[in-house]
C-alpha cells in the first residue's frame, strides 16, 4: 500500500473521530527556501492521550511542533481547538512546547530558573517540590544550568514543561539523554500526567520508546504524514500481521 492510500485511510479514520478531537492539525505546510519541509500535514489529537510523532531525523518533527506551537509561522494550514480555529497568537493559552536543544539561562542556578517558571505559571511551590522529587533534581538545584550533565539538563527541561498548566504539552524528544531506567521513570511520570487529564504530543525518533508509551502514533517521513492511528490500526493499514512491532510498520508505511 502506498503513502497516498495511507494518507487517505488516515483521513477517513480521523474524520470518524472528529467529535472526540481536542485539537486538529489540518494541512500544515512549511517551506524553507526551495525545500518543502512539511506538506499538508493533518492529524488529530485526542484528549488525555499520548500521541507519538515518530519519524527519522529530518522528517520534520521539530518543525511541525514549532508550527503547531506558533513559534514558527506555517506557510499553510491551521490548528483547531475543539473545532474552532486557534490562531498562533492564542496557542499559548492551550499549548506548551518544550524544545529539545535548548539551554535556558545557563548563568543562573537551576532552582532559580525553576522557581521563576513556577511563579510565572502561578503554580504552588508544592508542585515544583513534587516535580523536583519525582525527577530527582535535588542534586542539581544549586548548580548553574550551564554546567548540568545531559541527563539533568533533560530532567530540568522536563520539569519546566510540566510546570506549565496547559492542557496540551508538546515535547521534542523527551527521552533523549536518559538511560533505560530514567526513561522508564519519565514514562511513568508522563503517563500519570495523561491520567490526570493532560494531553501529550511527543516527538520521538526511538521507535521502541514510542511503542511503549504512546496511545496513538503519527508517522512522519519526508515532511508528510505516512500514517496515523493506534499501532493496531497502523499495522492493519500496512497489511502486516497483528503483533508486528512499530519498526516494521514504519518501514512498511514510510
Amino acid at each position: 500500500m502506498g503513502p497516498n492510500t495511507q494518507v487517505e485511510g488516515m483521513t477517513a479514520t480521523a474524520s470518524s473521530k472528529t467529535v472526540d478531537a481536542l485539537m486538529t492539525v489540518r494541512g500544515i505546510g512549511k517551506v524553507f527556501g526551495d525545500q518543502q519541509v512539511l506538506a499538508d500535514v493533518s492529524f488529530e489529537v485526542t484528549s488525555g492521550k499520548i500521541l507519538g510523532l515518530i519519524g527519522p531525523n529530518g522528517a520534520g518533527k521539530t518543525t511541525l511542533l514549532e508550527c503547531i506551537a506558533g513559534l514558527l509561522p506555517a506557510d499553510a494550514g491551521e490548528v483547531r481547538w475543539r473545532g474552532s480555529s486557534m490562531p498562533p497568537a492564542r496557542r499559548k493559552e492551550r499549548l506548551f512546547y518544550m524544545p529539545e536543544a535548548i539551554l535556558p539561562y545557563p548563568d543562573q542556578r537551576t532552582a532559580e530558573v525553576l522557581t521563576f517558571f513556577q511563579r510565572a505559571h502561578r503554580q504552588p511551590p508544592s508542585r515544583l517540590e513534587q516535580l523536583v522529587c519525582i525527577l530527582g533534581l535535588e542534586p542539581a538545584l544549586t548548580k548553574l544550568v550551564g554546567v548540568l550533565s545531559k541527563g539533568y539538563r533533560r530532567r530540568f527541561l522536563l520539569a519546566l514543561g510540566l510546570l506549565a498548566p496547559r492542557p496540551v504539552l508538546l515535547m521534542d524528544e523527551p527521552f533523549d539523554g536518559f538511560d533505560l531506567r530514567q526513561t522508564r521513570e519519565v514514562m511513568n511520570l508522563l503517563r500519570e500526567e495523561a491520567a490526570d487529564g493532560r494531553t501529550l504530543v511527543l516527538s520521538i525518533h526511538q521507535l521502541a520508546d514510542a511503542q511503549r508509551i504512546c496511545d496513538r502514533l503519527v508517522l512522519l517521513s519526508g515532511g508528510r504524514v505516512r500514517g496515523a492511528g493506534t499501532l493496531t490500526e497502523l499495522t492493519a493499514a500496512a497489511g502486516l500481521p497483528i503483533g508486528a512491532d512499530v519498526e516494521e510498520v514504519f518501514l512498511a508505511l514510510a
Partner: protein
Amino acid sequence: MRWLEPPAPAIPLLRKELCELATGNSLWVLTLVLSPLVGYSFIQAVALYTEASRPALSIPELARQLSPFDGILVPTLGGFYLAITLLFPFIAIRLIASEKASGALKLLVQLPYRLIDFVAAKFAALVAAWLIALIPVLSALIWWGLIGGHLDTRETATLMLGHLLYALLIGAISFLAAALTEGGATAAILALSVTLGSWVLDFAALDRGGVSSLLAALSLTSLLRPFEQGLLSVSTVLAMLTATVGFLALTAVWLPPGVSLARRVRGSALIVVAAAIVITGAMQAKAVLDVTPDRRNSLSTGDEKLLGRLPERLLVTVHMASSDTRLIDLDRKVLARLKRAMPRVTIRVAEPGQASVFGATGDENYGEIVLTYHGKSATTRSTGAGEILPILYELAEVGGPELDASESDQPGYPLVADASIAAIWFYGLQPLAFAAAWWLAKRRTLWRRP
C-alpha cells in the same frame, strides 16, 4: 487540573531580568571602565576650574563667568557619555541576545505574559543598569560638594535627565538591533553603527552646511546639546521619549518567534508612521526652559517681554558659511534666543558658493546680517545681541526695555580646590567596590529558591 492560566505576575519577570543583568559581565565591565574615566574627567575639570578661579577671586567680572555647570558637571559627564555610547549597547543587547541564543526565548514567549511585559521588564532592567552606571558620576558630584563646590539643582537635574533620555534611547536602539539579528555580535555591530554613525554625522556637520547640517540635527549627540547648555527643550524631550517608545515597540514586533515577515513589516510601518507623526508634532513645541540660574542662554527678561509683543514676522538673512564660527556664535547668542523670545521669526542662511578658511570668497556681502521687519530692512556685521537688538527695536519703532539690575547680579562660583585625593577613590576604592559587587552578584541572586 486547571488549564486556563491567569496573567503571570510581573515581579518574577522583573526579578529574572535584574538577575540576568547582575550575573552578566557587561554591566560590571561598564562600571569598572566608568569609574576611572569619570574620575579622570572630574579631577582634570577641577584642576582647570581652579586655574580659572585664581584670578577670578579678586576680579568679580571674571568670577561671574565661572559656572560649575559648564566647568565641572558637563566635562565630568563627558566621560560618562563616552562610555554609555560605546558600552551601554552591550548591556542592552545581552538582555535579549542571550535568551535568543540559549533558546530561553522560545519558553519565555509561551509564558502567560504579554509581549509588552517582556520588553517593559527588560527596559526596567536597563534603567537599573543606568542607575548603577551613574554611581561614579554621583560620587564625583559628592566629591565636588565635599571640596566646597556649588551645584545648581535645576541645572544638574536637567543635565541628568538629558543623559538618562540619551542612554535609554541608545538602549532601545540596541534592543531592536538584538531583536532583528540572530547573534549578539551582529547586534552590537548594528547598534554601534548607529551610535558611532551619529558621531560621524556630527563631525561632518562641522565643515559643511546644507544636507549634512540637516542630518546632523538627527544625530543622537546633538540631542544632548540643549541639556548641556542648561536648556530644557520640550520638543527634544518629547522627541527622545517618542523615539525610545518607538524603538521599544519595534522590538516587541521583531522579538517573538513565529510571526510572519509580512505581519512584522506591517506592524513596523505603522509604528514608524505613528512615531514620525508624533515627533513632527513634538518638534513644533517651542517651549524651552532656560534652567541656568543666571539665564545665560536667554536675552534679558525685559528684552524677552518686549520681543514677545512684536506682532510681525522678523526675517533674518545671514550671509555666512555654515562652518563659519561667527555664525555658530551668532546662532547661539542671538538667533536661538530670538526664536525663543519672538512668536514669528524666520532665519535664512545665504551661504556663499564655496567657503574658504578665510571666510569670504569674493562675495562682498559675506558677513552681513540683514534684519527685515515690517517692510523695513537694516544691515549689520555685528554678531552681538547688544548691537542687533537696538537695530531691531528701531525697525519695529519701539523703545528698548528698561534694564533690570538684578539680572546681572549673579556672583559666579570661583573655587580654588585640589581634587587629586579623589584619585584614590576613582582609581582604587570604587573599582574595588564594583569588583566585589560583581563577585557577589555571581554568587548570589535575587531569585527565590523553592
